[in-house]
Symmetry: C2
Subunit: 347 residues, 2 copies
């Protein structure tokens, strides 16, 4: 969430950073709420929590002092469904918060036509605990820590029951593959960006943001616009959930996935790293994949572009290299084809 309604500090950043009256400390906080997009209430709760915390992680903050939960129960659900669904969603949210080393101690619940789930994450930091997202320099390398294509996967999954939609894409993907991709997207969205946040410090990241509603290019543009130096972000590679690029193409670029503007939910971090650190960052992300952190083979990170001198904008090159990211556990995932091999463009 760029701090949308904000003025002053928060604007354009994922969080607002408020200098406190007490010894050099800052209050960093963010809020986010939206509507369910996966069918599993427990996973939806995890995704909502991961999405809220992601704004802190994008600033290299690995700790969170408190979370509040924002919920609305749908007036259109009967009592039985409410009692089945809402506790699971709350539990998923709490479990993800616990995985992030924090807890939910407050919140507000209302009745609404639609279900809403979201929250607030707050932390009080010393200056060395967060990385202001404005330090990119020419020569930096851009890294992305989750594959793109979550929106396409979620929609394709809904289309399994919509023949005229399904007919558009059935030539490029099987129902089985759609289900796999949907599962993969769900786990990816539910994965905390906390590991990446920690590694941002270890490898001296210069700036980062998280990729959500505006898509990779939208958030890359926001990040570029905030830089102190006159830089431009040039994106050469697009790591995308397997087959999602083909689906996007098959329905006439409905999603603009390859154009970089397909919305993501709880996407990865886009991180600007010193050139000599990027490969190490990626391999450490990969080696920590499949840990308690919850990142499977789809975790890890990919070098996607470079920082040049420029006018504080981001662009994707013509014909970017598509890196197909296979579902975790699949044959392909166990080969090494999602390693951060620098593309020709970078060598």
């Amino acid at each position: 969430t760029p701090a949308g309604t904000g003025s002053g500090p928060g604007v354009g950043m994922d969080c607002c950073v408020i200098p406190l009256r007490h010894g050099g400390l800052s209050l960093v906080q963010t809020t986010d709420f939206f509507y369910p997009l996966v069918e599993d209430p427990y996973m939806m709760g995890r995704i909502a929590c991961a999405n809220v915390l992601s704004d802190l992680y994008a600033m290299g903050i690995t700790e969170c002092d408190n979370m509040l939960m924002l919920l609305s129960v749908s007036q259109k659900m009967n009592e039985k469904d409410r009692e089945r669904v809402m506790p699971l969603m709350i539990r998923g949210f709490r479990d993800a918060a616990e995985e992030g080393g924090t807890s939910v101690t407050g919140g507000q619940t209302v009745i609404n036509p639609w279900i809403i789930v979201g929250g607030v994450a707050s932390v009080v930091c010393q200056p060395n605990e967060f990385i202001m997202p404005d330090g990119a320099v020419p020569g930096d390398v851009l890294v992305l820590t989750k594959p793109l294509g979550t929106q396409v996967a979620v929609n394709a999954h809904q289309w399994l029951d919509q023949p005229e939609r399904w007919n558009k894409i059935k030539l490029v993907i099987t129902k089985e593959e759609v289900k796999e991709a949907y599962q993969e997207a769900m786990f990816s969205m539910a994965t905390l960006n906390r590991t990446a946040a920690g590694l941002m410090h270890k490898f001296q990241a210069h700036a980062a943001t998280d990729v959500t509603g505006f898509g990779l290019l939208g958030h890359a543009n926001n990040l570029a616009a905030q830089q102190r130096n006159e830089v431009a972000f040039v994106i050469h590679n697009l790591p995308i959930l397997a087959k999602m690029a083909a689906i996007s193409k098959a329905c006439g670029n409905l999603f603009n996935l390859v154009q970089g503007t397909s919305a993501e939910t709880s996407g990865g971090l886009l991180v600007c790293l010193p050139r000599e650190q990027a490969a190490k960052f990626c391999s450490e992300m990969k080696s920590q994949s499949g840990n308690a952190g919850g990142q499977g083979p789809a975790g890890g990170a990919w070098i996607i572009g470079i920082v040049e001198k420029g006018d504080r904008r981001a662009r994707i090159i013509d014909k970017p290299r598509i890196i197909e990211v296979p579902p975790r556990g699949s044959q392909a995932a166990n080969q090494d084809n999602n390693s951060p091999a620098p593309s020709p463009n970078l060598s």
Copy 2:
């Protein structure tokens, strides 16, 4: 807002209080969001902000380090109405935040069938900046800082256009009086409880809460239940917006106003004060009425009951004294009949 979804510290309190990793400081925060209840979008924004901040004020906290705004725009509004209404609501929220000495630096906006407005208030405090709401002792006096009856006033105002509803109450109130009461309720709900929060320190308040959705008795019960000592709250007097008790009676106690369970929005603080301080607290509240703080004659405060030894519950005596609080600016308001004259019950 009792921290509804909370566990641990926050529960039952208006805010959650999180001990921080840094030198004895605590993060105190609260969130609240709901649906518009008055027609004026600017005033609705002020009311929403006053309602969020009220949870901090109830702990004697007068400063707020940051606010986030939570908004939803109704999908049912046309573009023109959205552009007229939402900026006014945001402006009202921001203006009230500024009056509270804080500012809004972040938030989230979504599209929803219904308009939602609310926010998050956060502050990092030293221990002496807040008053834990658990220190009431037998002999304390209960003070209320805003009159009751906001829900009745808002509903009566809607009934002006609903003949069969209006016919039920037209014998006890004129349309003019309903409009006056509605205005009065609106200003009362938009008034910050910040003055009261400051005076809680000056007069050594032992505990407080703010009166909102559960009504006076509901919140009095919540507060009584949290007390360290075995105390009971006994309420003798009910300060109520003029004529609202009559309306509530006329429609068969639809609201249970005199029973103490009529919902309030952004109501006053219910404060437990040492007996010898209560009258001074009230007269200082009254003398600060009509200041920049925004409290007119309806501001001030009323002694409404006492704290006895008991089983941590609250009750309203049989046949409580109704204190009719006239609209500001009215003849009656300029007389002294809303002064905190202790009732016979207290002498």
